[in-house]
Amino acid sequence: MRRNGTFASDGEAASANQGPADRTVAATADAGPRITFATRQRQLDERTRVLGVEGELDLASAPNLKWALADALSGGTNRLVVDLAAVRFIDSTALGVLVGVHRGLDAGARMAIVCTHPDVLNIFELTGLDATFDIFRNLDDALAHVRGSADTAG
């Protein structure tokens, strides 16, 4: 299920992987194999999913990200963690996708972002979107947030 060896977002949460839905979608963006974008979806329970994203989120991969997010939010999921720990770069188009999905969340739905890469964190900060999203440094905090046991963003 791991398409690219450097995927690094499962950690302890892998033990919580109870759901049958565990999908990986990889797409080669642009010309050339060096820039690769991949998503992996895990269903933790009937309402909670983790969408792991790897690679570079830019103009080329933004549409794939959009579909992956829409897919992750289907089927009764209203607690979503977008794990960007393996993302090296995110551009304005991909940010726009995240903003659009966040803005379109149903009432009562929660979405959190896991982000550890300093450049990506800087982009969130520079664009002021750290005020829009709930951004956490690790998956546990994010899961706790979407499940309602934690209320403050890191």
């Binding site: 820039i35 103009l59 304005s92 803005r103 664009t127 002021g128 005020a131 829009t132 403050t152």
Partner: protein, 656 residues
């Protein structure tokens, strides 16, 4: 194989696939048809070629078994044998009408569709080899005199109905038989002299194919199955209602079939007219027909398949041409859009606005990312100068109206006298209602030449690079979100003092997101590039330099430069402002902002306490972090909606 190829192609190009399939089907049908037609023709030929002989000897086809195609035979009373035989009617002649045969005399009359038959007088036996309607021949037994008396009606005339013709056979006087078509009249006179003469009264209209068959006199109708022996002379008038023989063949009708010798009582004289006769008359047609006849059906099928393939290829070529034309049209449209973009959204700037040199440049992305960036630089009433640089999400045509909307809306608020931050705050609700799903990042700035102070506020946009003798490092934490992100924006503002020479570079993220190998170009490289270009740098030179240093430009690049002249004094940040509400406080934005400003320890704790109490009291607060040398100074003011330009100090004092 051709169908296989077309089928696989059909997967990709449905239209072409259908065309090919239809073409192949048509080709196959054509091949089959041709093959069957060839077979038919081959079968028919012996019959036709045998006509003369068959006339003498009653052929099975001519025999009474086929009522429809039989010739009309009139046996004249005096003629021992009158055999009139018609050739088989041509297929075209079928189904045209009814043939009526009446035998008015005792002569046997047989009707055939086309045939005009002449009975030979003096024939001992009327041999009707043609197939008359049953009993038609029988009815015309011996009534020689009756013929003359036109007793035919009383005689056992019989009507044979066959499609297409009405033949009337009448026996008149002795020895003459007359056959006349209905439309044309072909009369055949058969004097006793054994010569049957066919005359075509209306030559031009005679519908040819009337082979007249004249039975020789004195000949026993030995072979006619239904032959009747008629005596006396008779005149047979056949009215042939079948005009199909038509086509110009008329004239030759007059050809009198003279039957010499003891023919077997019936002779056939195909008189012009028949289609085959026409074909045969043309050597070219004959040759072609012969060639066609010998082509095997397999070859026909192959030819059909090849034709289908050719058709498919032609269709494919046509489709490709159409597609190319459409793409060319779309490209034209896109280029036109780019032109519109340049004209409407990227204004030409004067080289100077007051004491400030200005330049701007735009470089569209070489791909789908083109469009969405915009800028504007304009003078305000009080001598200030304003800059707008922004980027709308989305690209291409759909981004155009939004860029226009943003540029002019923001410009309006700035011209109304609002500070950049206030302009953002005020414009955001207006813009969000119209942006729909889109969002935009933008940076607004005003420059007051008298005070040499630059004020800017960004919404999701990178702050300007301000470089003089040294660069400034603005606080980027707790930046304002973009317009349309669903959050209030216009939360941050920065005031920069520009005492001496400096270059302020406003840019869109296309510059820092351009790629160098796997890396981003980044703000660091951009700053160095700007420094290399020197004080006289222009925006276009900057973009050119960035483009040279990078491999890919997935997004538009736009840059706007303000060049402030003066002494070599370093620019510095005077004030950093942040507006907070309860939610921001919970998220720790105040603390991060103050830490970034250099506060810590007890100072920070004290400041945070003040912020919390102010937020609790007013619902929101504006933190102004004064960085004018020495220790940073925190100034709190209740949140307000509109801060009057130009001084943040004045704004801080304006309490609701």
């Amino acid at each position: 194989m051709a169908s296989g190829a077309s089928a696989s192609r059909a997967g990709r190009r449905p239209l072409l696939g259908w065309a090919a399939a239809i073409a192949i089907a048509c080709g196959a049908l054509t091949g089959l048809h041709v093959a069957s037609a060839t077979a038919k023709r081959g079968g028919a030929r012996p019959l036709s070629t045998a006509v003369p002989g068959a006339a003498a000897a009653p052929t099975p086809a001519a025999s009474g078994s086929k009522a429809e195609s039989g010739p009309a035979v009139v046996a004249s009373p005096e003629a021992p044998v009158v055999a009139v035989k018609r050739r088989r009617e041509s297929p075209a002649g079928k189904g045209q009408g009814q043939a009526k045969a009446q035998s008015r005399s005792g002569a046997s009359t047989q009707q055939k569709r086309h045939p005009t038959t002449a009975a030979a007088p003096n024939a001992p036996a009327g041999a009707a080899s043609g197939q008359a309607g049953e009993g038609s021949a029988a009815s015309a037994t011996t009534a020689p005199s009756a013929v003359r008396q036109k007793k035919s009606r009383h005689g056992k005339g019989k009507e044979a109905r066959s499609k297409g013709k009405e033949v009337k056979a009448e026996a008149r006087g002795s020895g003459s038989a007359q056959a006349s078509g209905r439309v044309q009249a072909a009369s055949v006179r058969a004097p006793a002299a054994t010569i049957a003469t066919l005359t075509a009264p209306a030559a031009a209209t005679v519908h040819a194919t009337l082979p007249a068959v004249v039975g020789r006199p004195s000949e026993p109708a030995s072979r006619s199955r239904r032959g009747q022996k008629g005596h006396g002379t008779g005149t047979a008038v056949a009215r042939n209602g079948a005009p199909q023989a038509a086509a110009g063949a008329a004239a030759p009708v007059a050809a009198p079939p003279t039957l010499a010798g003891p023919a077997k009582s019936v002779k056939r004289a195909p008189v012009a007219a028949r289609p085959r006769a026409r074909h045969q008359s043309s050597p070219l047609a004959t040759t072609v027909t012969r060639i066609i006849n010998v082509v095997p059906s397999l070859v026909w099928i192959v030819m059909a398949a090849l034709a289908a393939l050719a058709f498919a290829l032609g269709a494919s070529s046509r489709v490709a041409a159409l597609r190319a034309r459409r793409l060319a049209r779309q490209r034209e449209q896109l280029l036109e859009d780019v032109g519109l973009l340049q004209a409407a959204l990227l204004p030409a700037l004067p080289r100077r606005l007051g004491p400030v040199g200005t330049s701007a440049a735009y470089r569209p992305a070489s791909g789908p990312g083109a469009g969405g960036d915009f800028y504007d630089v304009f003078a305000l009433e009080d001598g200030q100068l304003a800059v707008i640089v922004g980027d709308v999400s989305g690209h291409g045509r759909e981004a155009l109206p939004h860029t226009t909307l943003l540029r002019y809306t923001l410009r309006t608020y700035l011209e109304a006298g609002l500070s950049p931050r206030s302009a953002l705050q005020a414009a955001t609700p207006v813009l969000e209602r119209q942006l729909g799903e889109s969002f935009a990042t933008v940076v607004l700035a005003t420059y007051q030449p008298r005070e040499r102070r630059l004020v800017y506020a960004a919404a999701g946009h990178p702050p300007p690079l301000i470089a003089g003798t040294r660069s400034i490092e603005p606080i980027t934490t707790s930046s304002s979100p973009p317009i349309g992100a669903g959050q209030p924006t216009g939360r941050r503002q920065t005031v920069v003092s520009v005492p001496g020479q400096a270059l302020a570079c406003f840019y869109t993220d296309g510059l820092v997101e351009a790629r160098v190998g796997r890396e981003l170009f980044g703000a660091g490289r951009l700053r160095r590039t700007l420094a290399q270009l020197g004080a006289d740098a222009s925006a276009s030179a900057l973009l050119d330099s960035v483009a040279k240093q990078t491999d890919r430009h997935p997004d538009d690049m736009a840059a706007c430069l303000l060049r402030v002249e003066g002494e070599p004094l370093a620019p510095r940040i005077e004030v950093e402002e942040l507006e907070l509400d309860r939610r921001d406080l919970l998220r720790g934005r105040a603390e991060r902002f103050l830490r970034a400003g250099g506060l810590g320890g007890a100072e920070l704790a004290e400041a945070l306490d003040s912020v919390r109490s102010a937020v609790a009291r007013h619902g929101g607060v504006i933190i102004a972090l004064r960085l004018c040398g020495g220790a940073p100074e925190v100034e709190l003011s209740p949140r307000n909606v509109a801060v009057l330009r130009p001084s943040t100090r004045a704004a801080a004092g304006a309490v609701r």
